[in-house]
Subunit: 331 residues, 2 copies
């Protein structure tokens, strides 16, 4: 592997001149520039980023930690982040934490070791103060989708509280009275907000709320719905805490031969765009996932460029998309 010295001697100049070719090209005499250029091409030289970051203290790398890239919501967030990162010359390191604080902590350790310039994270429930480590090492952080108790830093999330208000209101309008919330996990701020919005709306409609907490997985949605069947607690409408939970609910309902929305109304948070394109069926509160990613990256960029103001909190507006699954049987 060629080094800057190889290029220097090949071009008959000093290492500094080669370094300047990359960093301050205007400083070189045209003839020198050409000589260096020729040497670089001949040797196919590419500067070593590790050596560079060792001296200038930044790595031009950022990291995105989320629970599971496989959830289309996070996929889109990731795309928003990556596009912006790429535009600004940052490499993106990706990590799936699977809602495990333990895994998340291990990742953060690696990221600190790599001295990434910034971190975007949708943190697992609970607060270990493991995020403090980033702060201690001077690595800026932007929270995505979820805030974390006691952690005051930049954050971007979807205003699902309002979304929950609208969604619950919509179901009430459709004439449903027994509306339940499935999934929703204590400690995850975004889910707690959905729950709060649901509770508020139910109260305002003078209806009795029922929350069945669980993980945000398809499996969890399925299990909870199965239990509703077992315990004979089937409501008129189910709000799923996220898209995957909704899928589990639908799978369970289908297994029992219930039709949606004829026999049961269903709606959820987070759109599943591709499914909606194939068949506009599921009513959802959609979040602007791509914008969430790119905005979070923008906030991070500002921090990495030295912005030192108070932390910023951006609640992005959500959008309720009414499709078939939530309509009143008679509609």
């Amino acid at each position: 592997m060629n080094t800057i010295l190889d290029v220097a001697s090949q071009a008959g100049v000093s290492a500094m001149t080669v370094s300047r070719y990359f960093n301050q090209p205007d400083m070189l005499a045209p003839a020198t520039h050409r000589k260096v250029r020729a040497a670089i091409e001949k040797l196919k030289y590419v500067p070593n980023a590790a050596a560079r970051s060792l001296v200038n203290g930044c790595t031009n790398a950022i990291a995105l930690i989320l629970s599971d890239i496989t959830n289309s919501f996070y996929t889109t967030v990731a795309r928003g982040v990556e596009d912006r990162a790429q535009q600004h010359g940052y490499a993106l390191i990706l990590g799936n934490s699977d809602e495990s604080l333990e895994k998340e902590r291990r990742y953060l350790d690696v990221l600190i070791s790599r001295r990434v310039d910034g971190v975007l994270i949708s943190s697992a429930p609970g607060n270990d103060h493991h995020l403090d480590m980033l702060h201690h090492h001077g690595i800026p952080v932007v929270l995505i989708d979820r805030t974390v108790e006691e952690i005051d830093t930049d954050a971007v999330w979807g205003d699902t509280f309002t979304g929950a208000l609208h969604l619950t209101g919509h179901l009430v309008e459709q004439g449903f009275r027994d509306i339940v919330l499935v999934g929703g996990w204590p400690g995850v701020s975004s889910l707690e907000e959905r729950q709060a919005g649901y509770l508020r709306a139910m109260k305002e409609a003078s209806l009795v709320p029922h929350v069945y907490p669980g993980r945000t997985s398809r499996q969890s949605g399925e299990e909870i719905t199965e239990q509703l069947f077992e315990k004979n607690l089937l409501p008129q409408a189910i709000i799923a805490a996220n898209n995957h939970v909704a899928v589990g609910v639908l799978v369970s309902l289908r297994r029992h031969g219930l039709r949606v929305p004829e026999d049961m109304a269903v709606a959820c948070f987070d759109d599943i765009e591709i499914a909606a394109q194939i068949n506009p069926f599921l009513t959802v509160v959609a979040q602007p996932a791509y914008e969430m990613g790119s905005l979070a990256m923008d906030l991070l960029l500002e921090r990495m460029q030295g912005f030192d103001g108070p932390s910023r909190h951006c609640a992005l507006p959500t959008k309720m998309i009414v499709r078939c699954s939530s309509l009143a049987p008679g509609a």
Copy 2:
């Protein structure tokens, strides 16, 4: 930011002893071990990976370049890669190339500069010989999903040729005679294979094939289908080159009021699992995406560990999943 020297002086030992604490802990006397440990914790010291890689020549980072993480097929591939990478202590750098050779080339440059230990790539159509750069710099590469002409290296892909044979055969069995292939992009090996399988099956059935090439996007599928309407070339069955194309086809058909499969049969390559769970509708040839990712990572790991044998080519079996969209009207 504390360095190894800070820890050393804090612990009253030399830097080498601290280094050994991390790299050859058994070599330290128990008492020394404890002293170092205390110093590290007190200072919250985390070794600098850049400095380390500068001397030992490896970064413990690998990269995954694919066209668009937003396609659920690639998302799942990425998850397979990341899980395996994580298990082996490698950080994963992610890049979306959007089928642009230019963007891909820029990424590779960055990766070479970062001296990643290996690259997994689903390369854009065309061969710039830009992949040669990786080889020149001694960075092992594993191709995912697509092979590249003239590039002889490890590769993992889905056997969609056989998949196309089966899928076309299935449609023929259902009684369709006018079956067309929509999408499929010259230069993308995986799509060429699908086309080859389709052509072979049509020939064997003594049917006349029709291929309408295009990009592998929803938009492309939509446009091509619109043209079929305009030119009055509507067939009895449409095979879409991938999942996104299929979505475009379905959108277009719906716009024109055609029902699937009553008025038109549709099938495609690559499953859309979440949509299938909501409503098992679309007949597909599914590829083992997660395994593709983890297997590719395994091959890469072997290379990074020094394996120097001839290049390995793994064609993973695909699975046809017959759902409603491809059934004969009378069925």
